[in-house]
Amino acid sequence: MLWFALHFFLLMIAGFSSLRIPTGSVLILATIGGALGFIDARRRNELLFLQNLGIAPSMVVGAWVVTIVFLEIAIRFIAVAAGV
């Protein structure tokens, strides 16, 4: 949902000319997504429990960044396959 909202927001700014967004914007989107994911995990009290499980808070940010980058790569493949 977070990725979808951010991606939709960037497409809205670009005027929906393409499904794809520029590589630089992907990095910005991944960074914002990572930061928002971290804030959300903190808001939901998840960080302390994750640390008690041996999971570093940076892993939460990393998981969000990797997921967003993966979804952006997937959307590029879909866009190329669909010719848009």
């Binding site: 009290n45 302390l48 429990f49 994750l50």
Partner: protein, 238 residues
């Protein structure tokens, strides 16, 4: 009781905005022992415990857990080695049910779930509940039961008795004693002196930026300085 400490913190100094909270504090967590950390409001008990748990970086000093010594300890590293931290607020993830917390502990650490722990804390009916739907007492019981199912080598519990009714206090206290009897080093802080003393083996007093090991609760209760500056005149009169 004769084993050396599994967690040691020494020469801890921490200041906030130029205000020295801790100047030279130390803390030892000894296996099979419940150590009470007491002191007036704002003297730095929580800060000391959070430094020991790797949630706050001290300005100076070191923390040793097991064989590893850290100038900057981190909870996720120490938790892999057997530390569990129960904070002042809730340590339960709001997005997970109580049962899912147990399941994650079991999966992550390969421990078997002891149903007796769930029963002893009367948690059976809350396994499908999210933490936000629980009362403070239910939440605290769930958190300690989850910590116990981890079978930690050391548990640090910051104010686990706060805002609890006497029956829940007893359940929490018995849980802490059970952990200690299984060999866990338990460190517990709070202001409910009589309750904490009932379940403790040793007392560490935090005052004026430093710490004093007062020995057993009985010894601490006889310490004139401790009585005058912390327990207060009414207790001294008794």
């Amino acid at each position: 009781m004769s084993e050396g400490p599994i967690l040691q913190a020494d020469s801890i100094r921490k200041s906030y905005g130029g205000r020295n909270v801790l100047t030279s504090a130390s803390l030892n967590a000894i296996p099979a022992t419940v150590t009470a950390v007491v002191g007036n409001v704002g003297v730095g008990k929580s800060t000391l415990l959070r430094i020991c748990a790797g949630l706050i970086t001290p300005d100076d000093g070191w923390v040793k857990f097991g064989e590893a010594q850290f100038s900057r300890a981190r909870l996720h590293e120490m938790s892999r080695a057997g530390l569990y931290f129960m904070g002042e607020g809730s340590g339960l993830a709001e997005s997970l049910t109580v049962g899912e917390h147990f399941a994650m502990i079991v999966k992550r650490f390969g421990v078997s779930l002891d149903e007796r722990v769930i029963e002893s804390f009367s948690l059976s009916q809350f396994l499908d509940s999210k933490p936000y739907s629980l009362s403070t007492g239910e939440r605290r019981r769930a958190e300690l039961a989850i910590a116990m199912s981890r079978r930690p080598k050391c548990l640090i519990a910051d104010e686990p008795f706060r805002e609890l009714d006497p029956i829940t206090c007893e359940q929490i206290g018995c849980g802490l004693r059970t952990l200690a009897s299984d060999g866990c080093a338990v460190v517990v802080s709070g202001h409910e002196v009589h309750t904490i003393f009932d379940y403790s083996d040793r007392v560490t007093w935090v005052t004026a930026g430093t710490t004093y090991d007062l020995g057993t609760p009985q010894n601490a209760s006889r310490d004139e300085w401790f009585k005058r500056d912390f327990l207060g005149p009414s207790v001294v009169a008794q």
